[in-house]
């Protein structure tokens, strides 16, 4: 009989041949692009390559320089702050908004569209607009001062200590709507019976949400986590458009460090060393998790 999809019997090469053929693009992408290119990158991170890749090995030289670089350390610190803020705030705000929208309210479509539309705009646009709004001379600060509160100061983009939060504000505006929609979709999938049961038992709504609904939404959270985290690690365009890494180098991020090293400094080896560190970090976090999440038996 046809082999069931969950069966764990030994396979021969020609078993399931169509599926294997169909998976060739994926296999090639995974092996050639993601594994192959990464291996290529890692190899060249041990070289002195500048404008063009050259196999002129310098051992760990690039890594020593990387970890001695203030710019890189600032980049990592910024990514950590940005990442934590983004994950926590976009999940919390996204979930709360989804819950509000899920109250069988009127004009749901209008609200949802308004919350989601920034996601259609590129990071470049987002960065540019928020650069304006946060500009002290004609943005929020000047408006509030104009209303008579002269001592009001809100100028994150010109203050190196808090500039990364200015970037968070813009990123949240752009991305929270998408998180909200994912959560909302999850809530729509929750069986009505659960609400009825909890009401019959007299459980308060917030308890139902926290202890029943949230665990049920785990798969949605996982998908969202992957998408949001991938966006965080890769954040580049937004920073370039909004702050250019400034003031000074206060809002540098790792992806920008990599890119700048490759093309602005023309120091490929250094850029590759930085990207290898990023890759390594991601792999250390993802591989065990992916193994548990996707590698084991699939839940029906």
């Amino acid at each position: 009989m046809a082999k069931s999809r969950a069966s764990g019997r030994p396979f021969r090469l020609f078993r399931n041949i169509n599926a294997k053929l169909a998976a060739i693009p994926m296999i090639l992408t995974a092996m050639v692009v993601f594994v192959g290119f990464s291996a290529w990158t890692i190899t060249y991170s041990f070289t002195r390559s500048r404008l063009l890749p050259k196999l002129d090995f310098v051992g760990l030289g690039q890594y020593e320089r990387l970890w001695a670089s203030d710019k890189w350390l600032i980049s990592i610190q910024n990514l950590v702050i940005f990442g934590i803020c983004m994950l926590v705030l976009s999940f919390v705000i996204g979930f709360l908004l989804a819950c509000l929208l899920d109250q069988k309210i009127r004009f749901e479509g209008v609200f949802r569209t308004i919350l989601l539309y920034p996601f259609a705009l590129s990071f470049v646009v987002t960065g540019l607009v928020w650069q304006w709004i946060l500009n002290p001379d004609f943005g929020i600060q000047s408006i509030i001062r104009g209303m008579g509160w002269q001592s009001f100061t809100f100028d994150p983009l010109n203050d190196g200590r808090i500039v990364i939060f200015g970037v968070v504000i813009a990123a949240l505006w752009q991305g929270t709507g998408f998180v909200m929609v994912l959560m909302l979709a999850g809530l729509r999938g929750i069986d009505d019976e659960i609400w009825k049961a909890s009401r019959v038992d007299g459980v308060p709504a917030w308890k139902t949400y926290l202890f029943v609904v949230v665990p049920m939404l785990r798969p949605v959270f996982v998908t969202t986590l992957v998408i949001v985290t991938a966006g965080i690690v890769k954040v580049y365009d937004l920073v370039v458009a909004q702050t250019g890494g400034g003031p000074g180098i206060a809002s540098e991020v790792p992806a920008k460090y990599v890119y700048d090293q490759m093309f602005l400094n023309q120091n490929l080896g250094q850029g590759f060393a930085a990207s290898t560190m990023m890759l390594l970090t991601v792999a250390i976090i993802i591989i065990p998790w992916a193994y548990l999440e996707f590698g084991g038996r699939r839940r029906g």
Binding site: R50, F263, L264
Partner: protein, 408 residues
């Protein structure tokens, strides 16, 4: 000229380029004045019976460069591409991806007409010329707002020291004495200017071009670092990002001075300000007759198609021709690369620059002296210095030595 341009274009359309060879030219000149300047080249080139296909991409380092490198290493090169002359394109040349212009240069005697000679030198690798320098931008200028000094009741300074002396009064009048944008390269420019002006062109050459670490420890450089400390004090409180925002503060009189390259003139011109009356320009901070020879150059990737090869030569000749040099540089606000052309239409500041170029000391620009890598580190170091009041000049000096040592 227009007629032949039209004919050229028609021929291309009808015959698919039997006579007119299309050549794609990549560059990052997209703003109004820049585009008008490039148009002069395109016009002259089209008049030579070829066709200029424009591949403008804004954003010099971050955006345009990956495009150029990808296209060239992807073996689908453009016909010609802009680069800052200096060390940036060297590897492409060494990898055999760019063509040598030596034959054209010898036939037309470039080595005789290009002035200063050093600018052609930076196109030369192993005795062969690989690029056409098209303009000179000096980065050694101090721009002063006459209105700001008037408001503070002071005469307009004649050099850096007078600006420093005027600073307290400017502060009292609510004017920012020195404005520096927050992009790292602008901070780099300050040190570059201070080395040239305070320590002089000789030390400048020793430190930046020769990477002589002893010179960094010398007494002249000690004065430079002192001046750097002063510059930090003068610039405290300036809160702008981009250089043209900083220039805007000079224009509207809210800041006293800005250290910036000669491209700042474009901003004054657009604001309809007159040199000498509304603003003052001082080469090398008013402390000497020095210009630096930064600027742009065009490189020509190697291609097999003989028609394109021929068109590349035509383009190179057009770019260095006296007529195109005058037309281009007037619009660009830069100085021509040959000494035998006449720029009567140039404004006061540019004429000062041309004078210095003809008679004064000439130093290499940062791009020529340092590798792209070292240059960026240099800028990063400076912006950190300006943003961290607790960073000492000793730290800055140590950082500078590291960078120079690494680069030599």
């Amino acid at each position: 000229m227009k007629a032949s341009f039209l004919i050229g274009a028609t021929v291309t359309c009808l015959a698919g380029g039997v006579q007119a060879t299309e050549i794609e030219v990549t560059h990052w000149w997209t703003s109004g004045g820049e585009a008008a300047a490039v148009a002069e080249f395109a016009k002259a080139f089209d008049a030579s019976g070829n066709k200029w296909v424009d591949g403008a991409i804004a954003g010099s380092g971050g955006v345009a460069r990956p495009v150029m490198i990808s296209r060239i290493t992807g073996r689908d090169p453009m016909g010609a591409t802009q680069f800052n002359h200096g060390q940036q394109a060297q590897e492409l040349v060494e990898a055999g991806l760019m063509r040598s212009l030596e034959e054209v240069a010898q036939a037309d005697g470039w080595r005789d007409v290009v002035h200063p000679a050093s600018i052609l030198k930076s196109c030369e690798i192993d005795g062969q010329i690989y690029c056409v320098p098209v303009n000179i931008h000096s980065q050694l200028w101090l721009w002063l707002s006459n209105a700001a000094f008037e408001k503070a009741g002071l005469p307009v300074p004649k050099d850096w020291n007078e600006l420093v002396a005027a600073a307290p009064k400017l502060r009292e009048a609510g004017i920012q004495p020195l404005v520096i944008g927050q992009q790292p390269w602008q901070a780099g420019l300050v040190l570059q200017n201070l080395i040239a002006a305070v320590a002089g062109p000789e030390i400048y050459g020793k430190v930046l071009s020769e990477k002589n670490l002893e010179a960094v420890d010398g007494p002249e450089m000690a004065k430079v670092f002192e001046a750097l400390q002063t510059a930090r004090e003068l610039s405290t409180g300036s809160n702008v990002q981009e250089w043209n925002q900083a220039t805007a503060m000079i224009i509207n009189g809210t800041a006293g001075g800005q250290i910036m390259g000669d491209w700042a003139q474009g901003e004054f011109a657009i604001a309809e300000q007159v040199a000498g009356k509304d603003y003052t320009c001082l080469p090398a901070l008013g402390m000497g007759e020095i210009v630096s020879t930064g600027g742009d150059a065009f490189y020509f990737p190697k291609v097999d198609d003989p028609a394109i090869t021929k068109a590349q030569e035509d383009l190179a000749r057009v770019m260095i021709s006296p007529e195109a040099q005058v037309a281009f540089n007037l619009k660009k606000g830069s100085m021509p690369v040959r000494g035998d052309v006449n720029l009567d239409a140039a404004n006061d500041c540019m004429r000062k620059g041309l004078d210095v170029l003809a008679n004064g000391a000439i130093v290499e620009a940062q791009d020529q002296a340092l590798s792209a890598d070292a240059s960026t580190q240099f800028n990063d170091l400076m912006i950190q210095f300006f943003n961290q009041p607790d960073m000492t000049t000793e730290d800055a000096k140590a950082g500078l030595k590291d960078i120079l040592e690494f680069d030599s």
